[in-house]
């Protein structure tokens, strides 16, 4: 079976159009981030989060009334997977387990005869929240720098630059998408989501590396070929691999998104978006930027 035969697509000629597309998607995400903000999880915000499973369905309104009576009117309340499971979250900080104790008491009083079990409970002190926030940002930045250094060493400085810019692009686009869709899909930025970001950074750079690797190889054979032509040739040659691999990853992630349960949803969503964006950015950001750089400067972009 073959998905496509020998292709000869001129990827690079249309790159300016795609810059515009990328930019608008990022700007759209930034606008959403600015207006709606992003739903930070308890990990990063600090506070108490409680997930309770009731025997019979309860309405969010009733839970809210109970929370208001307990003095937690500012909590965020939503269903968690099914309408018997309720997630309550507040950034309120009190001594010990006071917050969760009061929440539990309020739920017991409000729903007599409808018993519940606590599925999960997190209490994060304010200091920890701030630290986890800092660590998450540091982790993303550190991995970008580490990848740059690796690619610089294995390829060339400018290739590292192209790849890392592409990764930064992927992170920005995904972040924007999470902000746009967080209401619909119940998404929040927590530690799992950060793990997803780092992983999409890892898989996205895979694509880029495979393309660069092919360019390195082709440069050895076609020593005088202009870079743009060489790039197109390499992209076409690796195209079927790109589609098959990323198709598989995409399908696997879709499965995780659908069957993986509520807890893995944020992770799967970010990865799914990231796998699409990452494939695209390997071509139109990572490779294209190397081309721009070489066209402008004195560097020939020679890898060998």
């Amino acid at each position: 079976m073959r998905l496509l035969g020998k292709t000869n697509i001129d990827f690079m000629s249309r790159r300016r159009l795609w810059y515009a597309v990328s930019l608008s998607v990022i700007v759209l995400g930034l606008i959403s981030l600015y207006i709606k903000g992003i739903d930070l999880g308890t990990d990063f915000l600090g506070g108490t989060e409680l997930i309770a499973k009731f025997q019979q369905p309860v309405t969010i309104g009733d839970v809210r009334t109970a929370m208001e009576q307990a003095g937690y009117g500012n909590s965020e309340i939503k269903t968690f997977g099914s309408d018997t499971d309720i997630l309550i979250r507040t950034s309120e900080q009190r001594e010990g387990s006071m917050v969760s104790d009061q929440m539990r008491a309020a739920l017991t009083a409000k729903f007599p005869g409808n018993r519940y079990v606590v599925l999960r409970e997190d209490k994060i002190g304010p200091k920890i929240g701030a630290e986890l926030r800092r660590d998450a940002v540091l982790a993303v930045i550190a991995s970008l720098i580490a990848i740059w250094i690796y690619l610089w060493f294995r390829f060339k400085f400018v290739y590292g630059f192209g790849a890392v810019t592409a990764l930064f692009h992927d992170v920005m686009v995904t972040l924007g998408m999470v902000s746009i869709f967080d209401g619909v899909l119940n998404l929040q930025i927590d530690q799992n989501m950060i793990a997803a970001f780092l992983t999409l950074v890892g898989t996205s750079v895979n694509d880029t590396v495979v393309i660069f690797d092919r360019m390195r190889e082709n440069q050895r054979i076609f020593k005088t070929m202009p870079l743009e032509q060489l790039m197109n040739k390499s992209l076409n040659e690796t195209l079927s691999r790109t589609i098959i691999t990323n198709g598989t990853i995409f399908a696997v992630l879709l499965v995780l998104l659908i069957f993986g349960g509520e807890v893995n949803r944020g992770f799967a969503f970010a990865m799914t978006v990231g796998s699409i964006v990452g494939t695209y950015s390997s071509v139109y950001i990572a490779s294209a930027l190397v081309l721009e750089w070489v066209n402008r400067g004195t560097s020939k972009g020679q890898l060998t």
Binding site: I128, I194, R241, V252, V263, N264
Partner: protein, 616 residues
């Protein structure tokens, strides 16, 4: 075939090894299934029969993270503010006012509370020596002393917490120091939050308790033995059925000279609580695996009835390894009423005794304590006094003579660690280690079950889908890649089991992602082989060229993923680390199976059997 023999043997050995490491996980699952199917006495009998197997398999199985298993994770931090408040002397209004301001500021600042306090006092032109240290000390010195105390407090807090968690009796608890000032406590399967909170945060209680006279102790132990023999031990199982069921560590059958069942029946207590007057005067030793059983026996009403009112049994805090290489806990019969509590200790220090070149711990007491201590030691020369922290005995030295000044020296520590531990314990009684919970996560068992189910379903669907696609797209080549894929999963899980890694929910996502990584390696190779075939090369030459040319791309892309994995492992906590772990192991496993194993298979098929392989 001969050419590839070593490689084939190597792969087969790797598979065998993987199965060997995974077998306990499988057995544990089977035993658990059998146990769940049984009820009441049947399940008890099952536990008794299989307890060694259950314990051993459980130790070697793949560990599940708290998010899958349910349980609590607590992060504790030393409350430096409380510590400096507790350490201060001559506290006055000015001090209270400054402390209030420091508390307010520390909430938003990263600066250490000690430094904030120092600044506040300097603003007021008050010297720190008014409250700490001696009058001649300048602020620099006192600040460094206080910072030092904060550092020591974490060690103390750590020992106190570890001791209590050990006493609490959770299976597979984990107590770890995190960075310079934090303690992580992980308690699988525990959901009693209020209880745990109290357990971790309460003030430590250090007591000195007199050991019972060996004669009296033996008489009581014999009486217990008789009382138990009269009712029969089988009874224990019935009354403690629930307890036994909940327990994960099980009791072993006694060995050696006491093997016959009659002896156990005749001496239900003394057969597992071993007394040896010559070697361990006045105490009993119990094999680690028998500890819970003895504990249960001692809690029985008929046992309590034969115990004198002012006597109790306390366990040693740590196990000792004896000549037979097995781990024993010591059971100390002590007087219930403490002779003295640890609040009177002013100082403790471990050091080497220059005369005998052995580790010792010296301790000093305040004048009030010293007076009591002189009386106590004077009255109990040649008797033993147990040093008890939160009901666990850390040392039980013999009183050599009357100690008039309170300055005592404790000998008999085997190494520096032991001496250091005793110093920490002695200080715990006097200097508090105020710890507070700054992070607490608990996952109920039902969420864990749901998560496991969701994880298994998605893994299964993703695997089947991928296998099907690879077969349809690459035919024979795809089938071989699928074989590699399954091997990759096998290796991944085996490495996880072998290195006691923890499988978390994001870890399952990592397993699924590994599938994609493994597929990518094969896709890279196969696409190359197809390209080479298209140029008219022979199958043999194309396969070799495909592997050779795809190698650098596979290596570079896997190494970059590995880099993010390492960073994720460094920065992440708990579940996220689990993800990074499976991702990293997965990369290694996939490279081995997708490149090495498939290449051998191709070589054997084309070279040895002279068959062709379709790459779709």
């Amino acid at each position: 075939m001969g050419k590839y023999r070593i490689q084939i043997i190597f792969v087969l050995a790797a598979i065998a090894l993987a199965l060997y490491f995974l077998y306990p996980t499988y057995r544990d699952y089977e035993l658990h299934k059998e146990l769940v199917a049984l009820h009441g006495e049947d399940s008890l009998a099952f536990l008794e029969q299989n307890e060694t197997a259950i314990r051993e398999n459980r130790q070697k199985r793949i560990k599940l993270g708290l998010d899958l298993q349910g349980g609590m994770r607590v992060v504790l931090e030393v409350n430096v503010l409380r510590l400096i408040e507790d350490l201060a002397k001559n506290k006055d209004d000015a001090f209270a006012q400054v402390l209030k301001e420091v508390r307010e500021e520390a909430r938003h600042s990263d600066e250490s509370p000690v430094l904030i306090m120092r600044r506040k006092f300097e603003e007021r032109q008050i010297r720190l020596s008014r409250y700490y240290g001696s009058l001649r000390d300048d602020n620099d010195k006192i600040a460094s002393i206080l910072e030092d105390e904060a550092k020591k407090a974490i060690d103390r807090g750590m020992e106190i917490v570890r001791n209590r968690v050990d006493q609490y009796g959770v299976s597979e608890p984990n107590v770890q120091k995190l960075g310079g000032s934090r303690i992580i406590v992980e308690l699988p399967g525990v959901s009693k939050e209020a209880e745990v909170r109290q357990l971790l945060q309460g003030t430590a209680l250090l007591e000195f308790k007199l050991l019972k006279d060996p004669e009296v102790a033996y008489r009581v132990m014999e009486a217990i033995d008789k009382a138990l023999a009269a009712t029969g031990v089988v009874d224990t199982a019935d009354t403690a059925a629930q307890d036994l069921l909940a327990d994960t560590t099980k009791v072993a059958t006694p060995e050696g000279e006491m093997t016959p069942a009659e002896l156990v029946k005749k001496h239900p207590f003394l057969s597992i609580a071993i007394v040896n007057p010559q070697q361990f005067p006045g105490e009993a030793v119990v094999l680690e695996e028998n500890r819970d059983k003895v504990r249960r026996l001692l809690e029985r009403d008929d046992v309590k009835r034969v115990m004198p009112a002012d006597m109790q049994f306390l366990w040693s805090a740590k196990a000792r390894i004896f000549g037979d290489g097995r781990r024993y806990f010591v059971l100390y019969p002590v007087k219930s009423t403490p002779e003295l509590t640890g609040g009177v200790i002013t100082h403790a220090q471990h050091s080497v005794d220059p005369n005998y070149n052995q580790w010792i711990v010296t301790m000093e007491m305040n004048s009030e304590g010293a007076k009591d201590w002189a009386r106590i030691t004077g009255a109990n020369i040649n008797k033993r006094i147990a040093i008890v922290l939160d009901d666990a005995v850390f040392s039980a030295p013999v009183v050599r003579g009357k100690i008039p000044s309170g300055n005592s020296q404790i000998e008999g520590m085997e190494n520096q660690d032991e001496a250091r531990l005793l110093e920490i314990v002695l200080k715990a009684g006097a200097l508090p280690a105020p710890v507070e919970i700054i992070e607490q996560r608990s996952v109920g068992p039902s969420l864990g079950e749901d998560s496991i189910r969701a994880g298994l379903i998605s893994s299964a669907v993703a695997t089947v889908m991928t296998l099907l696609f690879m077969f349809l797209y690459y035919r024979a080549g795809g089938t071989i890649a699928n074989l590699a894929l399954i091997l990759c999963l096998l290796f991944l899980l085996a490495v996880l089991a072998a290195f006691q890694g923890t499988l978390t929910l994001p870890g399952i996502a990592g397993v699924i992602l590994t599938l994609a990584v493994a597929v990518d390696a094969n896709v890279l190779i196969y696409e190359r082989i197809r390209e080479e075939l298209a140029t008219g090369k022979t199958l043999r030459a194309s396969i070799d060229a495909g592997y050779k040319k795809a190698w650098s791309a596979i290596l570079d892309s896997n190494l970059t993923t590995m880099i993010t994995g390492i960073i994720l492992y460094q920065f992440g906590t708990g579940p996220v680390q689990g993800f990074a772990l499976t991702l990293m192991i997965g990369i290694g496993a996939s490279m081995f199976s997708a490149i090495f194993v498939t290449h051998i298979v191709f070589n054997v098929i084309t070279d040895v059997y002279n068959r062709t392989i379709s790459f779709g």
